[in-house]
Every structure is written in structure tokens, then in C-alpha cells.
């Protein structure tokens, strides 16, 4: 979860100064800030549980590519504004029910982080869903563009829900909700918004999975090269 927040937060931060209107520049930066804040909280907690003395920055900046377990969706490049919005929407629609359920997690710290993140995610979801509808039902050009983004990104959406032994264990301990249940809630929201946006789910049902197992797309390496640049070039220094 921390990796999802970090990588998507990083992607959104690439927009800063380049947004289609100033108000959206500010909005995307806000979302980016929220995600980086979530990543910070989650990494801090992960480092504490791990107990090897790694802090949030070591976890965020000093792992190898395959140790990042973010979904393939969030590492995809920004593309045009429509691509960024569609990626965000598919992600927010997953994060919203996830955080909602995690507020009832048996782990108090996770529940507390989820509580705070849920407030932010509600706003993110509203923002991205509104834009999907606006672009889908806007002009001919915007409809075509956002439909194309959906066509390209759809195959990565199932990767959000890939389960593994750790996930199964977390579900059994009541730390995490059932990922299948989250997927059901996700589908419901996604289908309803896409319909309002007059967009169609692509016919091609082929899925690209692997992010949760550390098998990424070619894009992540470049992202990490930038993200890790300072930590790699100037090791063991304080900033």
C-alpha cells in the first residue's frame, strides 16, 4: 500500500507546473501531497514492524526495483491529462472501499492511518470521477481521448487485486478486508461512473499482472532512477 501511494504520488508530482489549468495544477499537487503523506505514515509503520531499523526514507528510496510491490497501474506514465485522470479514477475507486474497510482493521495503527487516509481518498475519488464524467461526456475529442486511456489502462486494473500468501494471512487475521469484496465494490463504482461518462469497457479482457510480486513494467526503473538519484549519488547523508 505504501508503494502504491509513493509511486502514484511521485507520478502526480511530475505534473507540478504543467497542469492544463492552474486550479488543476493545484488539485493534482494536493493529491500527490496526500499520497506522499500516506506513504510516509505507512513506511514508518512498516519499518517499525520489520524491526531492522529501516526508516521511511530507507524503505522509500533504497530498495531494488523488484522489492517494490506497487500495482502496475500506478507506475504507468502520466500521458495526457485524461490518462492521468483515468489512472487516478481506477485507483481511487479501489482505495476508497479499501480504506473504508481498513478503518475496522484489527491492527489499531493501520486503522488509524486508514481513518486519516479515507478522508483524503473521498476527495480524490470525487475529483477523479467528476473529471472522468466531464471528459467522457464533454467534447468529441475529449471523449475519444479518455476512452483511449480507459482502453490502455483497463488491463492493469486487475493487478490492484492480486492476492498472495501475505494478503490471505492478513485477511485471516482481520488486518485486511477480503480483497475479493473490495473488488466487488470497485466494480460497482467503476461501472456506474463509466456509464455516466458514456464510456465503454474494452472488449479485450486480457490482464497484465505482476506488480504485487515485484514484476514491473519497463516504466518503473526510470521512475526509480529519478526518485532514488540523490540517495544513490550521495549515500549516507542527511538532507
Amino acid at each position: 500500500m505504501a508503494d502504491d501511494s509513493l509511486i502514484l504520488g511521485h507520478r502526480l508530482s511530475e505534473w507540478c507546473g504543467h497542469g492544463p489549468i492552474l486550479e488543476e495544477d493545484i488539485a493534482l499537487t494536493n493529491i500527490s501531497l496526500d499520497l506522499i503523506g500516506q506513504a510516509t505514515n505507512l513506511f514508518q509503520y512498516a519499518g517499525k514492524i520489520e524491526g531492522k531499523g529501516r526508516d521511511e526514507d530507507q524503505l522509500a528510496f533504497l530498495r531494488y526495483e523488484k522489492e517494490y510491490k506497487n500495482s502496475l497501474l500506478v507506475e504507468q506514465p502520466n500521458g495526457d491529462f485524461g490518462m492521468t485522470i483515468m489512472r487516478q479514477f481506477l485507483f481511487d475507486a479501489y482505495r476508497l472501499p479499501l480504506f473504508e474497510a481498513l478503518t475496522k482493521s484489527s491492527d489499531a495503527q493501520i486503522a488509524a492511518i486508514a481513518e486519516k487516509s479515507l478522508k483524503e481518498t473521498k476527495y480524490h475519488y470525487r475529483h477523479s470521477a467528476e473529471w472522468v464524467i466531464r471528459l467522457g461526456d464533454g467534447t468529441e475529442e475529449s471523449h475519444q481521448r479518455i476512452q483511449k486511456s480507459l482502453d490502455l489502462l483497463w488491463r492493469y486494473s486487475s493487478d490492484l487485486f492480486t492476492s498472495d500468501d501475505i494478503q490471505t494471512e492478513a485477511e485471516q487475521n482481520g488486518i485486511s478486508p477480503s480483497i475479493e469484496e473490495i473488488k466487488g465494490l470497485w466494480s460497482k463504482n467503476v461501472y456506474s461512473v463509466l456509464e455516466q461518462a458514456t464510456l465503454v469497457i474494452p472488449d479485450n479482457k486480457w490482464e497484465q499482472n505482476g506488480g504485487r510480486a515485484g514484476k514491473h513494467s519497463e516504466h518503473l526503473g526510470y521512475l526509480l532512477a529519478e526518485l532514488q538519484y540523490m540517495q544513490r549519488a550521495y549515500p549516507n547523508m542527511e538532507w
Binding site: H10, P20, I36, D80, G138
Partner: protein, 319 residues
């Protein structure tokens, strides 16, 4: 048509208000030249905030840790906010926001030249916050008392945030100056590159600043360029000493009699060249902003079209 006599009377009353420190508000009568001067100055200021996002934006994706990344993002976002307030202040004078922005893209409007210098290392984030936001504060604090109400009020908000930025920048560079030899060198290099351009931020020397007298009379400007520059040097030099960095000026010395620092000659040729468009990044900065607008064209069109459709649907339901 107002008669010449009436205009003289209006101008007299206008100046009287200014002399008595009564704020001018959007609906008040004001001379055309006052309006034009303000539109020029406020729009230049707005453009500077927006273009100013780019040099620092250049390091957001390479910030060295999570905290620095978040702080830098928030800072650059503040600058976007400053741009928004200022474009709004400009609109109260009857200027159209889109046209104002197009003037930036066509090269007709100027912005602060400092943003035409590249950011080459992480230390530049420190140098910019410390020196550039620092110089901006010196320029802007007097504007909080500017005769034009909306501009003065925008400046009050902006100045609060700028002083926060200045402290953050100083914190970044202090940390580097106290760090490893590589970090210290990075900090000194950033100071070397940003010192002189920061002094140029106060504009040409008073002898070469033709609009200043009128702006002072209108209380758009309260201090001369050279006064503010001196104030900046006097405040900043001890800060550099405190963190063990050397100001790149061999002529710099304290004058006991005047209680001011004396400093070397500014390279005005460089200043005017950068203003004309020959700085290291003039082309890239404007091009980036122009592209952002161009790439956003379809998004704005969609938003307008959707709003229109929604309104029509609502009307249909009502009918």
C-alpha cells in the same frame, strides 16, 4: 465624455486620497495610467509566480527524502496559489486572465529574470528559498501598503507564505553547509550562481529606473530599488557568515560609518540580456508554460462543453 476640467478635478481628488493613505478600490475612479501601471506590475508579478514554479519544480521528482519532497511540492503549490490571487487582482482592474497569460506566452509580458537561471543541484532549492524568496519578501512587504486595495490584500497573504519559504530555504542550505564536503561544496556553488541574479531582482539602479518616481507618487512603490537591494544585502550577508558560506563578491565590506555593507558592481549587461530573452532558460520557461496551456486546450473545452450540456439538461427538466 468627461470634460478636461472634470478630469483634472477627479485626478486631484484621486491624488488626495492617495496622499491621505485611503485605499483605491476596483470601482473607484482612477487615472488610466495608474490602471495600466498596476495591470503591468501585477501581471508581471503573477507571471513570475507561475514561471517561478518551474526551476524548483525541476527538483520535485529528485528530492532527497520524503519530507523534503513534500515540503518542496507544497512550496511550489503555494506559488501557483500566489499566481491565482494575483491574476484575480489583475482582473479587478478589467484585465482578462486568458489575454494576460497569452501576453506571457507571446513574450510581450515580462516576469522576474531570476527564473531564467537553471537549477543544477539540490542545493539550488535552498539557495532559491533563502535568496529568491528572501528578495521577494523585501520587494513585497512594502506592497502590503500599496495604494490599490486588492493588490495590497493579496500581498499580505503572499508575504506570510514567502517568509515561510525563505525559512525553509535557509534550513535546506544550512543543513548542506553543515554536512559532508560534497554537500558543503554544493551549497557554496548554489550561492555562487544565485547571488548576483538575486541582487538583480530589485531591478535597475535608481538612476536607470524611469517609472519609479510616478509609482512612488501613487504609492504603488514605497522604496527605491537601490534601498531595497541594500536592505537585502545587509540582512543576507550575516546569514551567509553564520552558516560558513562565502558571498562571491571580493568588494564586499562592512562600512562602519554608514552601517551598511558595500558591495561590488552588478553586471548590468547580463541583467539586460536576460530581460531581453537571452538568459540560459528564457526559451524553455516560456515554452513550458505555452505547452501546458496548449496541451490543456482540449481539457478546458471539454469542461465548458460538459457544463453547457448539464445546464441544458437542467433547463429541460425544469421545463
Amino acid at each position: 465624455m468627461e470634460k478636461a476640467q472634470d478630469i483634472l478635478e477627479l485626478e486631484r481628488r484621486f491624488q488626495e486620497k492617495i496622499d491621505n493613505d485611503i485605499r483605491i478600490e476596483p470601482n473607484d475612479w482612477m487615472p488610466d495610467a495608474y490602471r495600466k501601471t498596476l495591470i503591468r506590475q501585477i501581471s508581471q508579478h503573477a507571471h513570475s509566480e507561475i514561471v517561478g514554479m518551474l526551476p524548483e519544480g525541476n527538483w520535485i521528482t529528485r528530492a532527497p527524502n520524503l519530507r523534503r519532497k513534500a515540503v518542496l511540492l507544497a512550496k511550489v503549490q503555494d506559488e501557483a496559489g500566489h499566481g491565482l490571487y494575483l491574476y484575480s487582482a489583475c482582473e479587478t482592474l478589467g484585465a482578462d486572465r486568458e489575454e494576460t497569460i497569452d501576453d506571457l506566452h507571446s513574450g510581450k509580458a515580462k516576469y522576474s529574470s531570476i527564473f531564467n537561471y537553471p537549477t543544477l543541484s539540490w542545493a539550488d532549492m535552498g539557495a532559491i528559498g533563502w535568496l529568491v524568496d528572501g528578495a521577494a519578501i523585501m520587494n513585497q512587504v512594502p506592497l502590503c501598503r500599496c495604494s490599490y486595495g486588492p493588490y495590497a490584500r493579496a500581498m499580505v497573504r503572499v508575504c506570510k507564505e514567502e517568509s515561510f519559504h525563505q525559512r525553509q530555504g535557509f534550513e535546506i542550505i544550512s543543513k548542506l553547509a553543515q554536512g559532508s564536503p560534497e554537500q558543503k561544496e554544493m551549497a557554496q556553488d548554489a550561492l555562487n550562481r544565485f547571488w548576483w541574479p538575486s541582487l538583480m531582482m530589485f531591478g535597475p539602479s535608481d538612476d536607470d529606473s524611469p517609472n519609479s518616481a510616478q509609482s512612488m507618487k501613487w504609492k504603488i512603490k514605497r522604496n527605491s530599488n537601490d534601498e531595497l537591494r541594500q536592505l537585502f544585502v545587509d540582512v543576507t550577508v550575516p546569514q551567509a557568515e553564520m552558516i560558513g558560506l562565502k558571498i562571491p563578491d571580493n568588494d564586499l565590506k562592512w562600512n562602519e560609518a554608514t552601517q551598511h555593507y558595500e558591495f561590488g558592481e552588478i553586471d548590468w549587461t547580463e541583467f539586460w540580456e536576460v530581460v531581453k530573452g537571452n538568459g540560459p532558460c528564457n526559451y524553455e520557461r516560456v515554452e513550458t508554460r505555452r505547452k501546458a496551456k496548449e496541451n490543456g486546450e482540449w481539457v478546458r473545452a471539454a469542461a465548458v462543453a460538459y457544463a453547457e450540456k448539464k445546464k441544458n439538461k437542467e433547463l429541460a427538466v425544469e421545463a
